[in-house]
């Protein structure tokens, strides 16, 4: 399960994304979309099923101290797989992304603390429910709020797409509270801790688990029960998997294994309380964070090298005497400079596999492609600008000696242009390194992603954020110093 590069990923605005994807798809190549067509359903039983799940939905799935994904859903699907004799490959994508991946055929099923709704049943087939959720209100420990009545005129926080949000919005008028929606449980909790909201609505197991982890919250009233959690497959696909899940679940309930799993996460009384000072937190999670940093640096290096090549190709294209080359290069720059890198990442990761079913790629490949193309557009401009910044008299002098166009480029213009470009290259490198953090949205397990995972299971956002910021800062400062030396070395 814990795949070192948890392939795909996560985006929390399914509606928006779907619309965006569709829009881009249509805009880009309607004809190709038609050619691509829908993916065919597969019916034959498999040895291994790819299961999509959320990344940060403790206690159902979350990253433990050891960097491995754990939780009720994870233990359950493993136990069922063992019971029924199949293998599972877990892809922690984030909730919305997991559903996207299911629809685009990148995963066989999704188990992610998902509530069965009428709306979802139009698209998916569900297994038997394995858990009954319920919404509860959590407020900071020691708060004097003891009922909904105290919330008039106050703000409550919810996570997007949850039953907690539905509940809070349905009852907003009745109790007079305002609802602020966030993308992650982590953000919801931090919103309350930092005073943007007085409390938050969430699934009670989530709140309960947080309390066992020292989240510093208490609950108000009893959970409003409702909402069955079940595993989903695409409508009409993998019926044998649903069948196996149901049988396995019944067996686990029978044997008492089911209760054991649930109790592990909801009724464990805390266990040993972790140290919460920055240094011990850093020590505990160091391996995970370093792994994240490693991926950040790898993605940066790969992207910068590829972007440099793209920059040279299109940079020369931009100043080419051949008009179509200029047009193509200019279009490339405008498209990738003129759209946000997040949209590009979503497009590469979600829209392309839907347009071309054979082009499925992991988060790292998709992330590196996105970052390379994006950085390449800026590199193109740096290289074009650097070449054009060289005094035209240099080319004239070289050409008047009888040296050809390319010889003049190579011997006279480029060595000077390169010197002009160095500071911009370094600057772009730093931007690219920081932009890798945006790729956490498609599940690239880089530093920011890892930190989010740790926060989600520990509730120690301030400590983790300080550590992560320091790690970025140190790497970027080291790069800056290095580049200053480089500049001095190459200074004319």
């Amino acid at each position: 399960m814990p795949d070192p590069y948890p392939t795909p990923s996560l985006a929390r605005h399914p509606e928006l994304l779907r619309r965006l994807g569709a829009l881009l798809a249509v805009t880009v190549l309607a004809a190709l979309a038609v050619l691509a067509g829908p993916t065919a359903a597969q019916a034959e039983p498999k040895d291994t099923y790819v299961i999509g799940t959320d990344t940060t939905f403790a206690p159902f799935e979350f990253t433990g101290e050891d960097g491995k994904l754990q939780g009720i859903d994870m233990d359950l699907i493993q136990a069922i797989a063992e019971d029924q004799g199949f293998e599972v490959e877990i892809r922690p994508l984030g909730f919305d992304a997991a559903l996207q991946a299911l629809q685009s055929g990148q995963v066989d099923a999704v188990i992610a603390g998902m509530t069965v709704t009428d709306e979802r049943e139009k698209t998916f087939d569900f297994s038997d429910p394995y858990f009954t959720g319920g919404v509860q209100l959590a407020v900071p420990e020691g708060s004097d709020i003891s009922s909904y009545e105290g919330l008039k005129g106050q703000t409550v926080a919810v996570k997007n797409g949850t039953t907690g949000k539905e509940y809070a919005e349905e009852n907003a008028e009745k109790y007079g509270w305002t609802v602020d929606t966030y993308q992650e449980t982590t953000d919801v909790v931090d919103a309350v801790k930092s005073g943007h909201a007085v409390g938050y609505f969430d699934d009670y197991p989530v709140i309960q688990y947080g309390i066992t982890q020292g989240s510093g919250f208490q609950t108000v009233g009893d959970p409003v029960l409702g909402g069955d959690f079940a595993m989903a497959v695409n409508k009409g696909e993998n019926p044998e998997l649903v069948e196996a899940f149901n049988t396995g679940l019944a067996n686990l309930k029978e044997s008492g294994k089911y209760d054991q799993i649930v109790d592990t996460y909801l009724n464990a009384d805390g266990g040993e309380q972790q140290s919460r000072d920055v240094l011990s937190v850093a020590a505990t999670y160091w391996p995970t964070l370093v792994r994240g940093l490693g991926l950040t640096i790898l993605a940066t290096v790969v992207s910068i090298v590829a972007a440099f090549v793209l920059g040279i190709v299109f940079g020369f294209g931009r100043i080419s005497r051949i008009a179509p080359l200029r047009w193509i290069s200019t279009a490339y720059v405008y498209v990738f400079r003129g759209t946000p890198i997040l949209v590009q990442a979503f497009f590469v990761f979600f829209a392309i596999p839907q347009l071309f079913p054979d082009l499925k790629m992991g988060a790292f490949v998709a992330g590196a492609i996105t970052l390379s193309l994006n950085t390449g557009a800026y590199m193109t401009e740096i290289i074009r600008g650097g070449i054009q910044a060289v005094d035209p008299g240099q080319t004239e002098a070289s050409r008047s000696l009888g040296l050809g166009h390319w010889k003049s480029m190579q011997k006279v213009v480029l060595p000077q242009a390169f010197r002009i470009m160095i500071p911009s290259f370094v600057n772009q490198g730093i931007i690219t390194l920081k932009d890798t953090s945006l790729l956490s949205v498609i599940g690239l397990a880089e530093l920011t992603y890892q930190s989010r995972q740790i926060i989600a299971s520990t509730y120690m956002s301030s400590q983790i954020l300080v550590i992560v910021a320091a790690m970025y800062f140190i790497v970027i400062t080291a790069l800056t110093l290095l580049s200053q030396r480089l500049e001095r070395t190459y200074a004319a």
């Binding site: 008299g393 002098a397 070289s398 050409r399 008047s400 000696l401 006279v412 000077q416 010197r419």
Partner: protein, 245 residues
């Protein structure tokens, strides 16, 4: 004119967009002849010079330099340019190379000479322009006059048949003009065919065998320098000389 004409220009036109800068120039330069081109700013004299090695693409007319027809699109311009040295107002030395590398770049890269042979000739040329001790220096450390002498040595390294000077002393401090003019004078005495666009009237008069006065994109008057400077015929030349002398 003579059978040994090095440069033959006939009815040369050049426009930048709607702006016609050269309106039909005819000029022939004989082998070993030194021609000075004078005229007010904007008269087209620099553009004319730059057409002679096709740094500017003529809009019409013919140019034949050392037997090569530049108006023929199929002419191998890089080969022709190897026979035409050019010196620029702003020197245009290659700042990332040493003085000697500036001089040896073209002969080495064009396969004319081995590195060692090019370096040897480069040193000889630098001696000739009085800069034998500067071979290893970077251009940035040189004075304007020294830079321009290096630029001349660089052009000479290709052993050109013709040398073009585009206001070679205009960007120099007055005290440095002399050292550059001396190098050009030496070249003239050595029999180099040269076209000089210049603002140095005294020098034009002294060194050229023929002086051409351009104004408004045409050759208004040409002749031996003594006549041009002492007995100008056209009102425009008289007016010009009254301002610059």
């Amino acid at each position: 004119m003579s059978a040994n004409a090095k440069i033959i220009v006939q009815n040369l036109h050049k426009s930048f967009g709607d702006n016609e800068v050269l309106k039909g120039i005819d000029l022939t330069v004989a082998e070993g002849e030194v021609v000075a081109v004078i005229g007010p700013s904007g008269s087209g004299k620099s553009t004319f010079l730059r057409c002679l090695n096709r740094l500017e693409e003529p809009s019409g007319g013919t140019i034949v330099v050392d037997g090569a027809d530049l108006s023929d699109r199929s002419v191998k311009i890089d080969e022709v340019r190897q026979r035409i040295g050019m010196v620029f107002q702003h020197f245009n030395l290659f700042p990332h190379m040493s003085v000697l590398e500036n001089v040896t770049l073209a002969p080495v890269e064009l396969g004319r000479l081995s590195k060692a042979a090019a370096a040897e000739r480069g040193r000889t040329l630098l001696e000739r322009v009085g800069l034998g001790d500067k071979a290893g220096a970077k251009p940035a450390s040189l004075s304007g006059g020294q830079k321009q002498r290096v630029a001349i040595a660089r052009a000479l390294a290709m052993e050109p048949e013709v040398m073009l000077f585009d206001e070679a002393t205009s960007a120099l401090d007055p005290e440095m003009v002399g050292e550059v003019l001396q190098v050009i004078r030496d070249l003239a005495e050595g029999g180099m065919t040269m076209v000089l666009v210049t603002h140095e009237m005294g020098f034009a008069r002294e060194v050229s065998q023929r002086t051409v006065f351009m104004d408004g994109g045409v050759v208004v008057e040409e002749g031996p320098p003594a006549e041009i400077f002492e007995n100008p015929q056209s009102p425009r030349l008289r007016d010009f000389l009254s301002k610059v002398l």
